[in-house]
């Protein structure tokens, strides 16, 4: 039982990270119906920004408190990825908004290749390990919970609440939901559609940066190709939960995190990703719009 609870905690931690990335996918998909393939690499950029800030802080101001360092890393990483995603949307996606569906998908895949290779060229292809930032652990009987796991879960919970509030209670969120439902009608009613879409990209990027920072803190390493696997898993999470649905993205992320850690614990670690993707196929066979997705109305 203790072992099970231990795996549950590990799974929730991982799932929180996936959930944070998945929100970016699901929001962009909801608002412009496009799979933003570069989102995984935005997550990677966030991790790298945090890494560089961490190194700057530790070399310039040795002995800076960990909490403060983490806060600065988070803020800078969020600013950085927001700027990148904003610029990418402007350059690579907006000109193709009226075009056919696959065009922005292809530019997104292109941007994904560009971002990961840019980091490879600019920062080198090797893994970048950092010394562990938070090492405290707590013991509850046989269960060991690391402080960094608690930090990740709390930060995720706080951000999700904040985010839920923005989307559901503020004028900005209302504009987003209106744009999602009917872009033309929203524009007619005075919603600045372009600006709303830009903000959606910025918000998704900021959450991805948080996930990137958490990932760096949790695993203590960053690499230029880190974006792909978590990106695909987060996208799987978004689809599993029902793409376009925010609670769905979080639920999907948590589910995938749990499956991964439980499968690795009780079966073989080698096939954990196969289990994840298998579950996705299985769920979609019986519920083609995901767990919380709204059934698509077919119109002639």
């Amino acid at each position: 039982m203790d072992y099970f609870i231990q795996q549950l905690v590990n799974g929730l931690t991982l799932g929180s990270i996936y959930g944070l990335i998945a929100i970016g996918y699901t929001m962009v998909y909801g608002i412009i119906g496009m799979i933003n393939f570069a989102h995984g690499d935005i997550f990677m950029l966030g991790g790298f920004a945090a890494l560089i800030v961490f190194l700057l802080l530790t070399t310039l101001f040795a002995g800076v408190p960990v909490a403060l360092a983490l806060l600065v890393m988070l803020i800078v990483a969020m600013l950085m990825t927001s700027l990148w995603n904003w610029a990418i949307e402007r350059v690579a996606y907006r000109p193709l908004r009226g075009s056919f569906r696959l065009a922005p998908l292809i530019t997104a895949i292109g941007m994904s290749i560009v971002l990961s290779n840019f980091i490879q060229v600019a920062q080198g292809p090797r893994n970048k390990p950092i010394p562990p930032m938070i090492t405290d652990v707590y013991h509850f009987g046989e269960v060991t919970i690391q402080l960094k796991q608690i930090v990740i879960i709390i930060v995720t919970a706080v951000l999700l609440t904040l985010f839920w509030y923005i989307v559901n209670k503020t004028p900005l969120g209302r504009a987003q939901r209106a744009t999602e439902q009917d872009r033309k009608m929203a524009a007619l009613l005075g919603v600045d559609v372009d600006r709303t879409i830009s903000i959606t990209f910025v918000m998704g990027a900021a959450l991805a940066a948080v996930a990137g920072t958490m990932y760096l803190m949790y695993y203590g390493v960053a690499a230029f190709n880190d974006g792909f696997i978590p990106g695909v898993k987060a996208f799987t999470a978004a689809v599993l939960g029902g793409i376009g649905s925010l609670p769905g993205a979080v639920l999907g992320g948590l589910l995938i995190g749990l499956i991964e850690s439980l499968w690795s614990a009780y079966f073989t670690i080698a096939y954990k990703d196969v289990a994840t993707f298998g579950l996705l196929a299985f769920v979609l066979i019986f519920k083609p719009t995901g767990i919380l997705g709204r059934p698509e109305v077919e119109k002639v």
Partner: protein, 463 residues
């Protein structure tokens, strides 16, 4: 500059002001974007700890290039492009009426003859040994991508099913050949159809669960399927030898004549000096023939009821069902026939390399193939071939650019920038030509007269 002045209602001074404003903005944006990633570099020191150092010079160069580029863009390129567009708009459009030139009319024949003559011409210029690089890297490599893209085109371009895991079928074909030939000693010519059939079978297996899915759900499940195949290839070490891959795969033979130094080998039999170029040239014609088969089958299928059903499915699934088309078999045939050509290409790939490993079948390959299909203009075979030549040939060319080392110093490795440039090219081509290189296609079925359909009237990926 003349264009800028001739533009009515806009004084050049304000244009200059705007250019300066935008240049400053772009400079600031570039500074922000690259501040961390270019401005600083992280590196491991001798004790493997990370150190960081600044690169302000490089950052300044980036910002400078961006600002100056934007300045010139606003001041010169935009007015020029606008003037050109205006000039075009003034001329009434009669392009469609104009009869195509001799070159355009016989383009396919000319292209085919050029391809057939390509190896002999290269050999006569560079000799057998010198021709290796050109036949292999520029011939076979590109033709493999042409074939894969034409195969994927059946799924994406004709049936409109977005498939992000096409490389899985390529892998199935390659491993079928690799394993069956090294364990059971079966010949290439027997295994080529078997690989195709096995891949088609896997296409069906993938097809069943995704039948009810639409658009992007389909995309993620196919992506997941591709990843599952790759992960199984990595982890099922008893059979596939995992990441080490299967090596020393037997070569293909020319109707039983092997390409080696044995007395019965090709070189000895025809009394020629030994060279590995014969095998490459043979492979070149083989893949060319396979491509031609793919193209022929695609063209014929489009005229058959099943091909029409595919295109109808792409345009409107509900209308399709209402008219009594069985969407289940239509989708399954599209998946399996597309997969079959992937399987053919895979077994050819295994015979050519003599080595297969899961490394060759990553998602990026699927993405590249899909990019070629879309950049070529969805459904147009010529366009896809052009896209394959530009994208793969272009990146291969980059490998050859030794002279760049003289400009950027001996440490400069063009290899490193290959994928970066490939990604940028994908983005830029898509933005400049959203309809692909060949944006219009001839309709398969028509009423009374044949009109070229602009790509914008057709839909894709509505699974």
């Amino acid at each position: 500059m003349a264009n800028a002045i001739s533009e009515p209602g806009k004084a050049p001074a304000s244009l200059l002001g705007q250019a300066i404003k935008e240049a400053v903005f772009t400079g600031l944006l570039t500074f922000g974007l690259f501040l961390l990633y270019i401005g600083f570099k992280t590196d491991q020191d001798i004790s493997n700890a990370l150190i960081i150092y600044g690169r302000p010079g490089l950052l300044a160069i980036f910002v400078g290039i961006a600002a100056v580029g934007r300045f010139l863009m606003v001041l010169f390129v935009h007015p020029w492009a606008k003037a050109r567009k205006d000039a075009r708009a003034e001329v009434p459009v009669h392009d469609i009426e104009k009869s195509p030139s001799l070159f355009h009319k016989h383009f396919l024949k000319i292209a085919l003859v050029a391809l057939l003559l390509y190896p002999p011409v290269i050999v006569s210029i560079y000799g057998f040994q010198g021709s290796l690089k050109f036949v292999d890297n520029f011939g076979i490599q590109i033709l493999i991508y042409v074939m894969l893209a034409w195969g994927l085109n059946i799924v994406v371009g004709l049936a409109g099913l977005l498939d992000l895991g096409y490389v899985a079928f390529y892998a199935v074909g390659a491993y079928s050949y690799a394993l069956l030939s090294s364990h059971f000693g079966l010949s290439f010519w027997l295994l080529l159809p078997i690989s195709g059939i096995l891949a088609a079978f896997w296409g069906m297996i993938l097809g069943f669960p995704v039948l009810r899915l639409r658009g992007d759900y389909l995309a993620i499940v196919t992506l997941a399927f591709g990843e599952i195949i790759r992960l199984v290839l990595i982890n099922w070490t008893d059979v596939t030898q995992g990441t080490f891959g299967v090596s020393s795969i037997p070569k293909a033979t020319l109707f039983g004549i092997p390409f080696d130094a044995s007395p019965g080998g090709f070189a000895k039999m025809f009394g020629l000096p030994m060279s590995s170029a014969y095998y490459k040239i043979f492979l070149f014609y083989l893949i060319l023939a396979l491509c031609m088969v793919t193209a022929y089958v695609t063209i014929r299928l489009r005229r058959m009821p099943i091909g029409r059903a595919w295109e109808a499915l792409r345009e409107d699934e509900i209308a399709c069902r209402s008219l009594g088309i069985n969407t289940v078999t239509t989708k399954l045939t599209a998946f399996s026939i597309g997969a079959m050509f992937g399987g053919f290409a895979g077994s050819f790939f295994a015979a050519r390399q003599g080595f297969v490993s899961p490394e060759s079948f990553v998602f990026m390959e699927s993405a590249v193939i899909l990019a070629i299909v879309v950049l070529g203009g969805m459904g147009s075979l010529t366009g896809i071939a052009v896209a394959a030549i530009v994208m793969t040939g272009g990146t291969e060319l980059l490998r050859e650019m030794e002279f760049l080392k003289h400009i950027f110093g001996p440490d400069f490795t063009p290899e490193l920038y290959r994928m970066l440039i490939f990604g940028l090219a994908m983005v830029i081509v898509m933005i400049l030509k959203p309809r692909g290189f060949v944006g219009s296609r001839e309709p398969s079925a028509f009423l009374k007269e044949k009109k070229a359909v602009s790509g914008s009237f057709t839909k894709e990926g509505h699974g």
